[in-house]
Amino acid sequence: MVPRLFGVVRTYPDTLDTVTLALEPLDGPPLAFRAGQFTMLHAFGVGEVPISISGDPTRPDPLLHTVRDVGAVTHALVTAAPGTAVGVRGPFGSGWEVADGTGGDVVVVAGGIGLAPLRPAILEVVSRRSDYGRVVLLYGARSPADILFADDMATWAQRHGIVVEVTVDYGPPGWSGRVGLVTTLVARAGFDPLHSLALVCGPEVMMRYAATALSARGVPDTRIRLSMERNMRCGIGLCGHCQLRELFLCVDGPVLSYDRLAPLLDVREL
């Protein structure tokens, strides 16, 4: 329950309200983690929030978190000057375990900031690209200005043969890319549904539609993985806040397969 101390090395602005924070341990070795896991980041004097790790699991130093400025703690984090000490607990929870998709296609469906927890999984695929067949990234953002990791996506497409489809909800003047919902891309994306592992992260409504679309394409529900968000506090299943019926999402999740989640997603306020 006691955080390790990390120092802010530098911050990379991603969008107007989102920043990637690079942290270096002040008290020991780098933090080993699995793609999809999260930590509890503590801004001293302000508080603690759960943030997914967005860096490369094969290169955990510096430790990357992509943080959206939406509250007091996240504001303190995104505005932290280099050298600022930050508390880190974790890593916590289940990972994407993308290696389960070895030998088949990988479909990644991301919405908004949901691309951040998926970035480590994509980097893992990229590092062992020949282990996988077709790799498709379908990414939906609110507007072109909200698109995360544009440089990464260009690299993944050009250097690693990943099919990247980006779509936005609002297409302002000058935007020549796709406009529309990311989940509708699922129906026409090029992958073999029966031999695919699908990884989905975004707002819960978007994940439900994405999972429905993937299931309709024929991807088995056991091969569709969603990263769930609830009120993670302790990270170790003790405090109770992140319960989704019988699940403690901070230890049983956040990544869970759709066959397990489907009955729970349909009940309101569960």
Partner: protein, 153 residues
Amino acid sequence: MRTLAEYLPEHPFFAGLDPASMDVVLGCAQNVHFAAGEMLFQTGSPADTFYVIRQGRVALEAHDPRSGTMVVATLSEGEVAGWSWLVPPYRWMFDARAVSPVSAVALDGDCLRGKCDQDPALGYALMQRVAHVMYERLQDARIRLLDLYGEAP
């Protein structure tokens, strides 16, 4: 390039249509091409055609003097553009512009409506397909209305 008779039955929109009906549809179809920037149709003009997109991307746009041109949705290979040909008053509600070179099959709305009137089975089959397109677009629009990625309230 393959002929219309080869290509059209494989397009997702027409998948599963019986060959006789397909022949009727082919009688109303012709290949068209648009350069990037070219308009497929414009707001307010008579909706006498719909387009089955073979290649390229089409943007449905609305233009406002203050905001400029906003894209409502984009349509790509495997999708269709336009259903106003089926619903009175048969006028386009948005502009459709090719954002890249577009190859499409244009189907004559007048011609199709006539065939559908004569052959209710064909009419029903086409209606089902258009209804599916409308359903997808409506779901798309509704979910986007939720502004899921935006600032939470």
